[in-house]
Amino acid sequence: MSSPSARAGAHPPWIKIMAGPIFFLAFGLIGYFYADGSIDPAPPGQLGAGFWPKMCIIGILMAAVLKAAELFRCIGKAEAEGGACKEMDTRKLVLMMLLIVVVVPAISFVGFPIATVLFIGSFLWLAGARKLWVLSLTSIIGTTFLIYIFVKVVYLPLPKGDFFFEDITLAIYRALFIM
């Protein structure tokens, strides 16, 4: 990843500048034809269910043209890039995103308590915490607190997990006097 200062100095090629509007134009066109073909046709004399989404898509197309015009006026100027960006730790970012995606099926499969303990521990480790007692205590105490609030106080039926994980979750609830 180039440094922000280096990027602010060089003028990007026009295709890079126009990538955003081109993407939204393509998205709009595909979306329009999909809406036209997939939504039930309007009853006689009425606008029908497809009218509003099509209007929204036409709005996206027009806004993309407007954005392209705005960027066209800025070609050669630094503003076309949208200003300097913050330097990001790409590896950490990708791993955190992956963790956020992985925890979704994990919550359903292993249940909320186990998934949350593992998620908090892993997330803290990715975020730079290395002390084992911080990782374990934060994740266990935090999860217990959340379970008490949401299961015991608010009666929210959080996922208990599948197979034997459900028994483990129920055992945890019993140990915590939640049920």
């Binding site: 009218f51 509003w52 996206i60 954005k67 359903s108 909320f112």
Partner: protein, 504 residues
């Protein structure tokens, strides 16, 4: 008995220890529920409803109205502190409040939100007490054309949110409106963009969109920044600085405009606090002398929208009490409480049981004063969380987001949407696509569609109906003016600058 005497009796009743305790309990429950993502103010009202069965009508309604008022305000606390708006109506307060927090003004931002909400709510209750019946008649004369016009005004406020790039704002707004169409259509019952999946038929709940885009995007943005320098001032013991009378006087304009907009829109059945919050924010941006500060931490924007959301509570109670028409989910539950106690809200209520009515009026006035205390205590409690290390806070914010998403429908598919919108929120920030217009589109788009199509069906697809009805015509003309005014203003400024340069 004169109205003043009734009001005095009501005030004495409201001050009875049990009623006062109900108010304080309700406010605390409301603020906490509003502040926790996933537990909405409506959830909290429904949760306290069973506790009211054994109570008299007055304490039970005071408890519920306190939860209502506190819940509406509560979401602003987590919005200001952590960029997680508790409810859609707290989104504009989050834009300004969180920006002020990042600048190191968290104590004052919380204070402005508390005082703005309390004063806006107090004034609207005063209006409710004085002019309920005529006000309700005007609100009832609104048809779907007027509702559409009001929502259209809210959508147009997108222009005032991001004047840096109109193109980007409009792309995000229409994208949000398109996301709002996913699922089974309200008017015709047709499936749209469901790709054959039953999970998609219920659509995407806007709370998931706003929690994901704001909170998860922000956490990733903050935690993954390389060589980040944390301002030591941000880690100091946080305080809540309530506004002094001089500060209130300095912000009297936004406060009064927010109160006016909130009461007016709150009184329109179906419009509610969310529309009031966006419209008041848009109006404030237009009349502000410092419009460039909006979105970057504007005291005026924060004060106006805080005032509007709580002013909408008083407004929403007008049609309920005077005509027996609940204008929102919260007032519908309250109507249920009235009926449970054998009382039918409506014009007869004022003649049959005026003492109860005036106790509710004075109790609501009192609630808004007590809210300063309850809001201050809760804000202090949540502010302490600011001292928690950023990585621990980030992990818990994400878990709260997941629980919040799941709590809405007890459906695991919402967790996928949450993860998707969270990651999307990060990329939107990265590529300078403004998040607020997209959220605005998801929230107001479905309302706009429903009112537009209902109007069209009634008017045989004649679009001129929006311009032949005076109220809708006036609102639409104002909206169009709001849309084009910033562009016109910048051209006029450029011409003026050009002339002065030429003269120099």
């Amino acid at each position: 008995m004169s109205e003043l005497e009734l009001f005095w009796i009501g005030l004495t009743n409201a001050f009875s220890p049990f009623n006062f305790m109900m108010m304080l309990t309700g406010l605390t429950i409301g603020v906490l529920a509003g502040a926790l993502p996933g537990i909405t103010m409506l959830n909290a009202i429904v949760l306290v409803l069973p506790f009211t069965y054994s109570m008299d009508i007055v304490p039970s309604l005071l408890l519920m109205t306190a939860v209502y008022g506190g819940g509406i305000f509560g979401g602003s606390i987590t919005g200001i502190l952590f960029n997680i708006p508790g409810d859609p109506m707290n989104v504009p307060a989050t834009w300004e409040g969180y920006a002020l927090n990042r600048k190191g003004h968290v104590a004052k931002a919380l204070g402005v939100a508390i005082m703005g909400s309390a004063l806006g709510g107090f004034l609207s209750c005063l209006v409710m007490t004085l002019v309920s019946p005529p006000f309700a008649k005007i609100a009832l004369s609104f048809s779907s054309a007027e509702y559409f016009a009001v929502v259209f005004l809210g959508l147009v406020s997108v222009v005032v949110i991001n004047t840096k790039s109109m193109g980007s704002s409009l792309i995000c707004l229409f994208l949000g409106m398109l996301l709002g169409t996913i699922g089974i259509d309200d008017v015709y019952g047709a499936a749209r963009f469901t790709f054959g999946s039953r999970l998609m038929e219920t659509g995407i709940n806007f709370t998931i969109v706003l929690i994901g885009l704001f909170a998860i995007g922000e956490v990733l943005d903050q935690l993954c920044e390389r060589d980040k320098v944390t301002d030591p001032g941000l880690k100091e013991r946080p305080k809540v600085h309530l506004m002094t009378p001089r500060e209130i006087w300095a912000l009297k304009g936004p406060l009064l405009r927010g109160f006016g907009t909130g009461t007016l829109i709150g009184a329109i059945p179906g419009a509610g606090a969310t529309v009031a919050s966006f419209v008041s924010y848009g109006v404030e941006r237009q009349v502000s002398k410092k419009p460039e500060e909006f979105g970057k931490g504007s005291w005026e924007g924060l004060n106006s929208t805080s005032s509007a959301i709580n002013a909408s509570v008083g407004g929403a109670m007008i049609p309920l009490l005077t005509l027996g028409i609940p204008g929102s989910g919260a007032t519908a539950v309250m109507m249920g409480a009235f009926l449970l106690h054998g009382i039918q809200p409506g014009p007869l209520l004022f003649t049959k049981d005026p003492a109860s009515v005036y106790t509710i009026f004075s109790g609501m006035l009192l609630c808004n004063i007590v809210m300063i205390l309850a809001g201050w205590i809760c804000a202090k409690f949540f502010s302490e969380l600011m001292r928690v290390p950023e990585n621990i806070m980030g992990a818990f914010i994400i878990v709260f987001c997941f629980v919040g998403a799941y709590a809405l429908r007890n459906d695991s598919s919402d967790l996928w949407y949450m993860a998707l919108f969270g990651i999307g929120g990060y990329f939107m920030r990265r590529y300078s696509l403004p998040v607020p217009p997209l959220v605005l589109g998801v929230i107001l788009g479905p309302l706009a569609e429903r009112y537009f199509l209902t109007t069209m069906i009634g008017a045989n697809n004649d679009i001129s109906v929006f311009f032949t009805r005076p109220v809708s015509a006036a609102i639409i003309v104002v909206s169009i003016g709001m849309f084009f005014w910033p562009m016109l203003q910048s051209r006029l400024n450029k011409r003026r600058t050009g002339k002065s340069c030429a003269a120099a």
